[in-house]
Amino acid sequence: MKIFERFLHIDRRIIFVLIAIGVALPLIYPLGFNLEVTENVESVYNLMEELEPGTRILISFDYGPSTKPEIQPMAIALMQQAFTNRIRIIAIALWPMGVQMCNEAFEKVSAEYPNIEYGIDFINLGYKVGGMVTINHMAKDFRSTFPTDAGGNPIDEFPIMKGIKNFDKLGCVISLSAGDPGLKQWIMIAHDTFGKPVVGGTTAVQAPIMLSYVNDQQQLVGLLGGLKGAAEYELLVNKPGFATKGMDAQSVAHLIIIIFILIGNIGYFATMKKDTMKA
């Protein structure tokens, strides 16, 4: 049974090439599988829809270019939903690269919403170090944590910041997070200490851990996990974008990996049986 031994020793470069093709082809020739919206994504959407026009929310950009493909689509879809409903966004970043991610998302979205004005409907307050400690500080004294926006202009100059001294006047907190500091810290401080509803968009790596917080204590109201979560959200706000486009490629790549896992295991069991028979 030589073939089974072959199964065990496929050159990894063949796998590399197959994965690359498996991802590239569906991008060029979409297959058009349909998408189902899951419960946790819907909770995020509903929370946002229930906010009254004019409400201010805080979005924290806790990621960088390394995870941009997964999280940027969420940022864009959330911004689109907020601006459609006249929800105002205060953006901050716990990762320095988050400032640029936020700028890029805003530039893209604001082109569709000409009425949105910086300082009234949206503000980018820039990056602060310190993770959990800094969140705790801004929850008690927001204005001394953020004396200026990302451009160094005092926040008193912007109408959107009027009366914001802590989290009291925020509708909810959203953390778009790729790790630490990120969503976990926001849950611990913004919800568990100061009682603000928190929702999150995370990389798929983070999602299984964060699901423990989606519970009847509402530590986390809802969660967008990875590209799939982003695609579902694009579907809900009815603005298909990068994530929706990537779903087919994602499916095919998963299938390829599953097939290789099966091949590896078939080879393993077949050769093991032979070994034990010999013994």
Binding site: I19, V23, L27, E70, K128, T148, A204
Partner: protein, 209 residues
Amino acid sequence: MHRIGIWIGVFLTFAIFSFLYKDNPFYKIAEQVFIGISAGYWFIYTIYNILIPNLFVPVTTDLAHNFLLLIPAFLGILMLCRLIPSIDWVSRYALAVVVGTTAGLFFKRYLQSDVLNQLTATMLNPFASSNAAQIIGELILIIGTITGIVYFFFSKKHEGAFGTTARVGIYFLMVSFGAAFGYTVMARISLLIGRLNFLLGDWLGIIKP
């Protein structure tokens, strides 16, 4: 310059992908550029977004109200003394403040969020629902959480009924590791989709980026 930028990006992308074949000078160059730029970015953003607005501006414009900020400024400078080996021990004073604050905050926040709230979130009445899947699910959740904690119990030998409970616990842990594994596959593939979208869209223009 947009086009040139794209070409630089493509070159760097392939330089890093060449690592898949084997470690080589192109990869090493790209890696060092990455490290250098990343460090420069952190440096600049820390100065513009933190040290200037939160320290320099308040202290220089209104010292009377902000003189207390000179304390963290002093501690920060002590922190930098770590670069000079002969007096690097003074950085411990600054480190002590940082570590003390973190330890104090971690103590209460982990206790609240990861212990107390997780505990109350598991206090469920599984029979409250009429949906069979939910009843089974919540029973699984309760049993899994308790047996999982039992697995991490170190002051008792895993034998007899206790050992069996721990054994059940490890099975639950394995399922969650499997789920986490599946999700990680998903994450990494998404990043590759992002890259190919750049190559096929922004660079080659085969698809709409």
